[in-house]
């Protein structure tokens, strides 16, 4: 594949939260390293899948890129422009380019507003339309794009099913004709038969408009289906990144391996022929992460070195990066 231009370049991104611990005063505050030194880039017009379990920091990565949180350290370069340090006022025009689709279609739409107001708000705020008539016209186009009907626009979110609501959320994200969309678990709250509707819509729009996606999910089979490149996160760290087929065929990190073996597959013969690699125990608390490699407490291959040093993300060829002391 030719070297293509990256639309999003995340460099050594860190996002720490200071949270209240036991007791009073500054000293009792704890640092939660939600994202710790994460680097990756997303090529224009492709989908980067970010997988990991809850609490691994994947959602925080998406939200930090969109400047919903102020990054503790590191850079996000959007189309050649460093945006992490940009003041909100200067950043407002960039909001047009960078949009988001949320996980829960029940909380991401304002229950007191009609579909027209919800999808129309971005147009009005960014002054892309000059009158309400023009707004209504655009909203109708957008609603039609996601397969809903004209007479739906004056209804309230609670009157729609989950899948329909998610399509409204997509229409809102598309209203500003963005170039980059963070899809934060966009299908995990939806029923199986509806998930494909949403994924197909996302894929169609990518082809038509050349959209770039950051697709955050814990559903490995969907990530494999939609992504071009995939990153695996564990406890705030990116442990493995590669092009999708490369990653799924040649898993080099023990965590990736067990994550994939544990994922349910909708095929009984294949499911029973695979041996699940059952991980012992739970994910450690991000407030008190293990020394060295974050995965070592559950890793079958852990050695002494793993508790001493955090392994670097190393290039193992063909764009495949792994952070492990004893790669598989």
């Amino acid at each position: 594949m030719k070297e293509q231009k990256a639309l999003i370049d995340v460099q050594h991104l860190k996002m720490y939260f200071s949270i209240a611990g036991k007791g009073f005063g500054k000293k009792s505050r704890l640092t939660l390293k939600a994202v710790d030194d994460v680097s990756f880039s997303i090529t224009k017009g492709t989908t980067f899948g970010l997988v990991g379990e809850s609490g691994c920091g994947k959602t925080t990565v998406g939200r930090t890129i969109l400047k919903l949180y102020e990054a503790t350290d590191g850079k996000v370069i959007y189309d050649g422009q460093e945006i992490t340090k940009m003041p909100e006022k200067e950043f407002t025009p960039y909001r047009r380019d960078m949009q988001m689709i949320f996980q829960d279609p029940y909380t991401s739409l304002d229950p007191r507003q009609t579909v027209n107001e919800i999808i129309g708000a971005p147009l009005m705020v960014q002054k892309l339309v000059s009158s309400t008539a023009e707004r209504d016209e655009r909203v109708r186009e957008l609603v039609a794009m996601v397969g809903l009907k004209d007479d739906h626009i004056n209804r309230y979110p609670h009157e729609f099913s989950g899948g329909q609501r998610q399509r409204i959320g997509i229409a809102r994200a598309l209203a500003l004709k963005p170039r980059f969309i963070v899809c934060d678990e966009p299908i995990s709250a939806l029923d199986v038969s509806i998930q494909a509707q949403v994924v197909n819509i996302l894929e169609e729009f990518q082809q038509e408009m050349g959209l770039t996606y950051l697709f955050i999910s814990h559903d490995l089979s969907m990530v494999r289906h939609i992504s071009h490149r995939v990153g695996v996160m564990y406890l705030g760290h990116l442990v493995e990144v590669a092009d999708v087929e490369e990653l799924f065929r040649h898993k080099r990190h023990p965590y990736t391996q067990s994550l994939m073996s544990a994922a349910p597959v909708a095929d009984p013969r294949e499911a029973t022929s695979n041996k699940r690699i059952i991980l012992e125990g739970d994910v450690p608390s991000p407030l008190n992460p293990p020394s060295g490699c974050p995965f070592r407490t559950r890793c079958r291959y852990a050695k002494d070195i793993c508790s001493e040093a955090m392994p670097e993300l190393t290039d193992v060829g063909s764009g495949h990066f792994v952070a492990c002391h004893n790669m598989l």
Binding site: R63, M100, T107, S108, D110, P111, Q113, V125
Partner: protein
């Protein structure tokens, strides 16, 4: 309370079953695409407020409360206008009369018509209730909204301020203010308005805090809506239901406080009649002429009941947690 309904209404018998052998062949033709009606919503469009209205209409106690209150408002407005008596018109030929056709609620020690005086008291009480509620709602929502939305240090300072003032019993302030401002309707209003907004402010702040980080508020930020717009367009409308309920319960509290102040003699002063002063006057002669006590007391308690029923009804209708 639950209506007895037939949970298993008679279902129409399907015209065919799998066992039938002679189904018309045309029925096995493909169903035309336009008859499939996917993504069609059958239920009528109901907004949040319309839904609340439907619910409150079906709440009998709340409806009774509304009707009672409506009648009370009519009495307050029209009885003093059309009655042949005035609230301070004395008639020494007709003192301490028991209820009759001439004097519906009897007369007091100066021969003043009690019905007119109770109606006049309703004017004062309802004015106090409504004005206090409205003023408190505005102050409380703005204060709490700003505090909750900005959070952090601003929130800390603003809420500690409220805590300090709310820690002292509000009656104490009111009594102090009344002594300072003099005993009349205006000063009661000022006193009540200055002390009641704490609860609305706290409630609003809590509401705003809980929805500030919800996805739809984040979504508004993502599309570039300003903080002020998010507060006004999303956060306040979404916290309005519970706030209205709190404010609704403020009305009876304010009315009751006025009655209490007048009853202990530092509220509205004679000869102006409020329910509290009337009850106080009536208490002096309670043994001999109980009606002088009973009618004002009834007016107070029935209005309290009505307002509380309305408040309960609103809470049930507006509370999202109780929503099915």
């Amino acid at each position: 309370m639950r209506k007895k309904i037939n949970m298993f209404p008679e279902q129409p018998q399907p015209p065919y079953t799998m066992a039938d052998k002679d189904i018309p062949a045309e029925l096995f033709e493909l169903l035309p695409e336009d008859e499939k009606k996917t993504d069609v919503i059958n239920r009528p469009s109901i907004s949040y407020w319309k839904n609340a209205w439907i619910k409150i209409k079906s709440d009998k106690l709340a409806v009774a409360g509304f009707i009672f209150l409506f009648i009370m408002v009519l009495i307050a407005i029209f009885v003093p206008i059309f009655s042949p008596y005035t609230y301070d018109g004395q008639d020494y030929n007709a003192i301490y009369q028991t209820p009759s056709m001439e004097h519906l609620m009897g007369t007091d020690m100066f021969g003043r018509d009690l019905f007119v005086r109770v109606a006049y008291g309703a004017r004062i009480s309802l004015t106090i209730g409504i004005v206090t509620a409205l003023v408190n709602m505005v102050i409380g929502v703005l204060y709490g909204g700003i505090s909750g939305f900005f959070g952090g240090k601003v929130d800390m300072l603003m809420m500690r301020f409220v805590d300090v003032f709310a820690a002292v019993p509000s009656l104490l302030y009111i009594i102090l203010l009344m002594m300072f401002l003099g005993a009349n309707l205006r000063s009661i209003l000022i006193a009540l308005c200055l002390t009641y907004w704490f609860s609305t402010a706290r409630q609003t702040r809590g509401q705003i805090l809980s929805i500030r980080n919800q996805d739809f508020a984040v979504a508004a930020k993502v599309v570039g809506e300003s903080n002020l717009r998010i507060l006004i367009r999303h956060l306040i409308p979404n916290s309005f239901g519970p706030i209205i309920v709190t404010v609704m319960f403020l009305i009876p509290a304010a009315i009751f406080d006025e009655a209490f102040l007048s009853f202990i003699g530092i509220g509205i002063s004679v000869p102006v009649a409020s329910w509290g002063t009337l009850a106080n006057d009536g208490m002096a002669t309670m043994g001999a002429y109980p009606h002088l006590m009973i009618f004002p007391a009834l007016a107070i308690s029935l209005t309290m009941f009505a307002l509380n029923f309305i408040g309960d009804g609103l809470r049930d209708a507006l509370d999202p947690r109780l929503k099915k």
